[in-house]
Amino acid sequence: MTQIQEVSIDQFKHLVSERALRGETMLLNMGPQHPSTHGVLRLLLELDGETIINCISDIGYLHTGIEKNMEAKTYQKAEVMTDRLDYMNTMGNNLAYVMAVEKLVDLDVPVRAQALRVILVELQRIASHLVWLGAFGLDLAAMSVFLYCFRERELVLDIFEMVSGQRMMTTYIRPGGLWRDVPVEFEKAVRDFVQLFHKRVDEYERLMTRNPIFIDRLVGIGYLDKKTALSYGVTGPTLRASGVNWDLRKATPYLGYEQYDFNVPVSDDCDTYARYIVRIQEMRESLKIIEQAMNKLPLGPVRSENRKFVPPPRSEIGVSMESLIHHFKLWTEGFLAPKGSIYNAVESPRGELGVFLESDGGPKPYRVHMRTPSFDNLAVLPEITKGHLVADLVAILASIDIVLGDSDR
């Protein structure tokens, strides 16, 4: 056990300006319990009147030890942890992890499973943006937006519940495919949702996009230029709103994203309003992808036939000795992964979500590390809040869309 070291206040003096030490400016603590910090983020603000001079973020209030816990579980069982990482993007986390495992053990995925994964992940992107939009509205004191957004989010969660039995923590995407095939009602539910949601996005836009109060509070606030964004490793819609056309779905296509016709919304305005516009447009693009994927959804198996890594279907266990052995081996010992390390990144609603796996040849990962988008996007916050008012900080913080479970893990 390492000794816990006492830290003196002098070690933190460089974080604030000279004036704070002379007592000319005020230090204000915002969070960890604050309705606008989107979880348990703590911000230490140095204020001159109501103008922010310094903004120091203190994270770790939701540190969960997910990476460490995953080392104690086999590759299949560790997947359960990834759901709880970024709880707005559960399917996407499963996907990032599962794809890393598939890369590590070189596992094939049937085309139907790939198409279904695309549909589910894009639905998740819409659901995540809806929560973001609702919370963003709440932070700007637009309560009704929150109620509208959660109404539609329930429709997505109903689809998730239909396929996996769980609303949020689905663990539906498994190494080698999916847990099981989607039920027959799935197609109608998704098509109904797509049809309805086109109109609902228009509804949100009518509420907000040209709303003068909304524009007044957002345009020109939280300017994040291209160079700063790239130097801080900002990804996702926050980066694209700063004029960089970088989307992993286009840059390094996975799951057959190259077959789908969609645009990557980019804005050169670099402010809070641009981030809002980019996310609204992303929801429309996701709908386009879902529609195309539904139209050419192939039939066939949803799980790989490679029994060394993928458990056999339940029906085979009673009649086949090999299946019983495979099932037993997979759920007691797990499968052995070859020695080596792998990094796999996917585009989550917040940016580049990467999973690094280090294997020592055993059934459990030797080290798991997540490159989570919220952590890097949060790092840029002190840069873009300087000189703004406290009320604008709330809008800026909401616009970069952080999830503390994602950044603290």
Binding site: Q33, T64, M81, R167, G405
Partner: protein, 162 residues
């Protein structure tokens, strides 16, 4: 259109002080706006259009602990968050209640490790535990109803928190 028109002139109604006090406590219980992790999203869903917790007197989520009666610990509580949680609980005025929402807050859930309290009852006294990872909004509402039953059984003279 009031209740008088439905019932006529009722004159006097007799009841006990406890019934009135507990009735008023359960019908205007203000939870604190405080979410930790995944369960907080389901708590938001319970407040939103489809489930609408304001039907049960939870119209207002108070951002300040000084104005709230109920703390819904929604999510996993890390060792770093523990002192903050206790401070928030201590700031709430009596009578106060705590719901541990979800497996992590109830018993640590899937996170049996160095970082997470194995149940938030190590930090604050808990009245109702809601199971699920995360619990559905219906489950949270059921937890709230269970808490109401508990409150309704309370004596006015008895100390509210043990």
């Amino acid at each position: 259109m009031g209740i008088e028109q439905k019932l006529g002139n009722m004159g006097v109604a007799t009841t006990t002080l406890e019934t009135v006090v507990n009735w008023s406590r359960t019908n205007a219980m203000w939870p604190m706006l405080f979410g930790l992790a995944c369960c907080a999203i389901e708590m938001m869903a319970a407040q939103a259009s489809d489930y609408d917790m304001s039907r049960f007197g939870m119209e207002l989520m108070r951002a300040s602990p000084r104005q709230s009666d109920l703390m819904i610990v929604a999510g996993r509580c890390s060792k770093k968050m523990g002192p903050v949680l206790r401070l928030l609980y201590d700031q709430m005025p009596e009578p106060k209640w705590v719901i541990a929402m979800g497996d992590c807050a109830s018993c640590g859930g899937v996170f049996n490790n160095y970082a997470i309290f194995q149940g938030v009852d190590e930090v604050v006294p808990v009245d109702v535990y809601v199971a699920g990872c995360p619990p559905r909004p219906e489950a949270l509402i059921h937890g709230v109803m269970t808490l109401y039953e508990k409150v309704n059984a309370q004596k006015v003279t008895a100390p509210v928190t043990a």
